[in-house]
């Protein structure tokens, strides 16, 4: 129907999200990046919602 998928995986989808902005958002992304950099870590899932304008500010 749609050709080959980019990925198929088991995901953890949060029931509700937590909005994060500013310094919290910055530190959260640093934490998640740090975790993903670890050789043994395969996936990181979170219930964060970082609004687009915050993402843009973080560049």
């Amino acid at each position: 129907m749609l050709g080959e998928a980019d990925s198929t995986k088991l995901a953890w989808k949060p029931h509700t999200e937590v909005e994060v902005r500013g310094e919290d958002a910055r530190h959260l992304l640093k934490l998640m990046d740090g975790l993903e950099e670890d050789d043994d870590v395969q996936s990181v899932w979170g219930n964060e919602n970082i609004p687009d304008e915050e993402l843009e500010k973080l560049g």
Binding site: L2, A5, K13, P14, H15, V18, H27, E37, W45, L55
Partner: protein, 166 residues
């Protein structure tokens, strides 16, 4: 369909991660080897392996590398890997689930705990966070796969619970 994707954050972070190709290949091949070991080393007969191979192909992993990772399973290289899930909280009170494949529980636990505490988070007990999530199959297509109507139609046809786009 949602206008904003909940997975946009993941896209944003993955942008920076793409630069570390070797790290990605290492994770992809580990998943392939472990998946191949868990069932038949044949993507047609092993859903987890099929998913792992799809993911590897999407990252342009060469066919040879993929096959080598599958072959590693039969020579016993996947024997020692186990799946571990860590749960904790990060800045902003965000709940986090970390999935790892490791041949050394202690090393991984120590590293994960350190990363959490160094970055304003804390590791919690198993189950402390995951009750706030549901386990779902996630299938990602590139935008070129079709327009929103086509994708929505395909999703409905296969009984998808939700569709999101970036």
């Amino acid at each position: 369909m949602a206008g904003h994707s909940k997975f946009k954050n993941i896209m944003y972070r993955k942008g920076a991660q793409d630069k570390k190709r070797s790290a990605i290949f290492s994770k992809l091949s580990r998943e392939i080897t472990v998946a191949a070991k868990m069932g038949l080393p044949d993507p047609e007969a092993n859903a987890r392996l099929r998913a792992a191979v799809i993911a590897a192909r999407a990252q342009s992993m060469p066919k040879d590398n993929i096959q080598r990772s599958i072959d590693k399973a039969s020579v016993g290289e996947a024997e020692n890997y186990e799946e571990i899930r860590y749960e904790g909280f990060g800045p902003g009170g965000v709940a986090l689930i970390v999935e790892a494949l490791t041949d050394n529980r202690n090393r991984t636990a120590t590293n994960v705990r350190t990363i959490f505490s160094k970055n304003g988070g804390n590791l919690g007990a198993s189950g402390s966070v995951s009750h706030g999530f549901e386990r779902l199959g996630l299938i990602e297509y590139p935008a070129s796969a079709g327009d929103s109507d086509k994708v929505l139609e395909a999703a409905i046809e296969v009984g998808a619970e939700d569709v999101e786009s970036d």
